[in-house]
């Protein structure tokens, strides 16, 4: 009996020693801190991203947590989220709150460049890695700041490459030689305009920019501008603005009777439902735009494929007014990158997390495409192809991808009927 007792005690002590070694210092939960904007001008891009991230987090917690290699076990996630109401100053204080008072393990920014901008120096100051969800401002990424990585959306300076490539490669064959660029003067669309200009000029394709005008983001009437554009006789018109700009522009195009042969806008692709509601299907017919990841079934090597994610979204947010789309995929992608990083990092040290995230670059393929970073942490993968919206026989808008050719699903319709 005594021998059995000693043996049992030995086995028990060995087992517990192993368990202790595996779980040494393991936290009871991983604290993930983020902000969202339930109101104000960024609510429409913030809430889908936040809901996407929440969906991933709740799914992981339902499975017992996320696997953390540093502790060799699954650990539940705790979400600490504050509402910045689209206010920059409030966001700054709340980011600080997350870092200094809540002491989060992972810091995730709000959506968009404006609400991310204030987090960049704060995160750097506190040596916290900023998981930048969709803040694509080129200013954020500098070689001397290792505390930022961009999850979804390519950085603004390379985002429009498919558009420029299409115009400079296929454009001349179609007859596109004169291009007009009209853009809203904010970081997001201004940087895109700079990139389009640069790509076209560097291509030496013979395509000429005949109109290039920046206008205030608050612009809501484009009638005079449209007439100015028409006077330059362009073959293609590229309008780069936020959703309200695109809505006003496309309405003015319809009302004026001006029919650009090629018309590109950003938001018909990113927020199709919103644009269709405000402009109508006919106004979006044959408009060129980015094809968002929510329209492309990428072969995901990690996480749910698009179809399953959409089903999970519809189930969870059955009564929600937040639309499924490009941004909802971005929030979920953030979760997937965090999950992969925690499974690869040897500790929760912020630079170790960065190293783990960088190790995923070019290898991680999610429903958002291939995750790829440059040396400064800017996203250069997850490129949105160029597509054209076409009204089908049932009056439904569908995307026809036209560039790059290897993912094209159809031929472009040019000139726009």
């Amino acid at each position: 009996m005594t021998r059995y007792t000693i043996f049992a005690l030995l086995v028990a002590s060995m087992t517990s020693a192993t368990a202790f070694a595996q779980g040494t210092g393991a936290p009871a939960e991983i604290k993930l801190g983020t902000l969202y904007a339930s109101s104000g001008r960024f609510a429409s891009i913030s809430m889908p991203v936040h809901d996407g991230l929440k969906l991933w987090l709740e799914q992981k917690n339902a499975e017992g947590g996320v696997f953390v290699k540093a502790f060799n076990k699954k650990i539940p996630l705790k979400l600490i989220a504050y509402d910045d109401q689209s206010n920059n100053a409030t966001a700054a204080t709340l980011y600080n709150q997350l870092i200094t008072q809540d002491k989060v393990d992972i810091l995730v920014s709000d959506s968009g460049s404006v609400l991310t901008s204030v987090a960049v120096p704060i995160a750097r100051d506190h040596k916290m890695l900023l998981i930048d969800q969709t803040g694509t401002g080129a200013n954020f990424f500098t070689p001397d700041n290792p505390y930022i990585v961009l999850m979804s959306d390519p950085v603004s300076s390379i985002w429009p490459k498919p558009l420029a490539d299409f115009i400079t490669h296929d454009g001349p064959k179609l007859g596109i030689k004169r291009v007009a660029i009209l853009y809203s003067t904010n970081d997001f669309t201004g940087t895109q305009a700079n990139a389009v200009r640069k790509f076209i000029k560097e291509s030496n394709s013979g395509v000429e920019i005949v109109y290039d005008e920046g206008i205030p983001t608050e612009t809501s009437n484009y009638t005079v501008l449209l007439n100015n554009i028409r006077a330059t006789n362009p073959d293609a018109v590229i309008e780069l603005g936020y959703a309200p700009n695109d809505i006003a522009f496309l309405r003015n195009v319809q009302d004026s009777g001006i029919k650009p042969k090629f018309l590109f806008c950003i938001y018909p692709g990113l927020e199709t439902e919103l644009l269709e509601k405000n402009v109508g299907g006919a106004g979006l017919n044959y408009v060129f735009t980015y094809v968002p990841s929510s329209e492309i079934a990428y072969q995901a090597s990690f996480g749910m494929p698009l179809k399953d994610y959409k089903a999970a979204w519809d189930k969870k947010y059955v009564d929600s007014k937040v639309e499924f789309g490009f941004n909802s995929v971005a929030g979920y992608t953030t979760g997937l990158v965090i999950e992969s990083a925690l499974a690869a990092a040897n500790s929760l040290d912020q630079l170790e997390l960065r190293k783990a995230i960088f190790s995923l670059s070019g290898k991680l393929r999610t429903l958002d495409g291939t995750f790829e970073l440059d040396a400064t942490g800017a996203q250069i993968g997850e490129i949105t192809p160029l597509g054209q919206l076409i009204l089908d026989e049932h009056e439904h808008l569908k995307f026809v991808t036209v560039w790059p050719h290897d993912v094209a699903t159809g031929k472009p319709v040019y000139p726009r009927p």
Binding site: A92, T100, S117, D144, N145, G214
Partner: protein, 302 residues
């Protein structure tokens, strides 16, 4: 001297000590910025009666003056700061014709001027100079600790100035102008000169605050430093505490900005309701600020 010991020293000492016990340094920094701005509004509105709706124009000018010195001339921050503040003072000089207006007309013209400066700064055609709408990044001089220390010095200077105004003939002259410019002129006060000096001092305070803010945050867009919220907050804080006093704007910032953050963090969904109700209550029951309540209780508030 009494006010220096009773107000300036404790306030500055508090902000010097707090970072070692409270780690949300940006929040403490923002408290200092708003005390400076509320005191700046106090100088021009509290003492002379001109309500500057476009006060943020000076703040933004200071921020951009600082940033452009750093970007284009690689100036060290401690040199760029006074030059940035100088940009705000030059803007103030440029706007002196606004004093031909009074009351709401002055306020609205001042607001328009601030918006015009914002449009100029964010004009994409000036990208090579101001970086246009694409924002400023000052990662090369990023040093929050030194920026915090400098803000502390600017705060001390601002409080020192307001204490001087509260206790000097110049401050009395400004208050006389506020009450009745014609009578003040008749009494030998050079109304135009004194008013312009107050205006430029007020611009200087906002310019210094803007410069040090730009240094601390280091990445910002034109809309960030020309945001009307800075003006609104500064005016509301100054009014809440009580104008033409040293303590009033400090009380206003500590209570209202403290509440703003407490409510914003704990119950953001009720934020606007609580804040709005509080300001309505203030306007209805304490139009002269908290200080008037303290005075009603027999306390001598400087």
């Amino acid at each position: 001297m009494r006010h220096v010991l009773l107000i300036l020293v404790p306030v500055v000492a508090t902000f010097a000590i707090l970072p070692s016990v409270y780690s949300n340094h940006l929040l403490l920094f923002n408290f200092m910025i708003f005390i400076m701005l509320a005191q700046g509004v106090n100088v021009i509105y509290g003492f002379t009666g001109y309500l500057p709706f476009g006060y943020v124009g000076f703040f933004g000018a200071g921020a951009y003056g600082f940033s452009l010195m750093v970007i284009h001339l690689q100036a060290p921050p401690l040199l760029a700061l006074p030059v940035g503040a100088g940009a705000a003072v030059v803007l103030g000089l440029f706007l002196t014709p606004l004093f031909r207006l009074s009351g709401a007309y002055f306020s609205i013209a001042n607001l328009a001027a601030a918006l015009a400066v914002l449009q100029v700064v964010s004009n994409p055609n000036l990208e090579s100079i101001t970086k246009g709408p694409y924002g400023i990044s000052l990662s090369g001089v990023f040093n929050p600790t030194l920026a915090y220390g400098t803000a502390l010095a600017v705060l001390a200077a601002t409080l020192g100035l307001v204490i001087y105004l509260r206790n000097s003939r110049f401050g009395m002259a400004l208050q006389a102008i506020r009450e009745d410019p014609i009578s003040a002129g008749m009494a030998g006060i050079n109304v135009v000169r004194e008013r312009i000096i107050a205006w430029l001092l007020s611009a200087l305070i906002a310019g210094l605050a803007g410069g040090v803010f730009a240094w601390y945050v280091s990445v910002f867009y034109p809309e960030t430093v020309f945001s009307g919220e800075f003006t609104i907050f500064a005016i509301v804080f100054a009014l809440f505490g009580g104008n033409a006093t040293v303590v009033g704007p400090i009380l206003g910032v500590v209570i209202l900005y403290g509440l703003y953050n407490a409510v914003g963090i704990s119950t953001p969904q009720y934020f606007q309701l609580i804040y709005g109700a509080l300001i309505m209550g203030l306007v209805l029951f304490l139009p002269n600020g908290l200080v008037s309540l303290l005075r009603r209780w027999g306390l001598n508030v400087p």
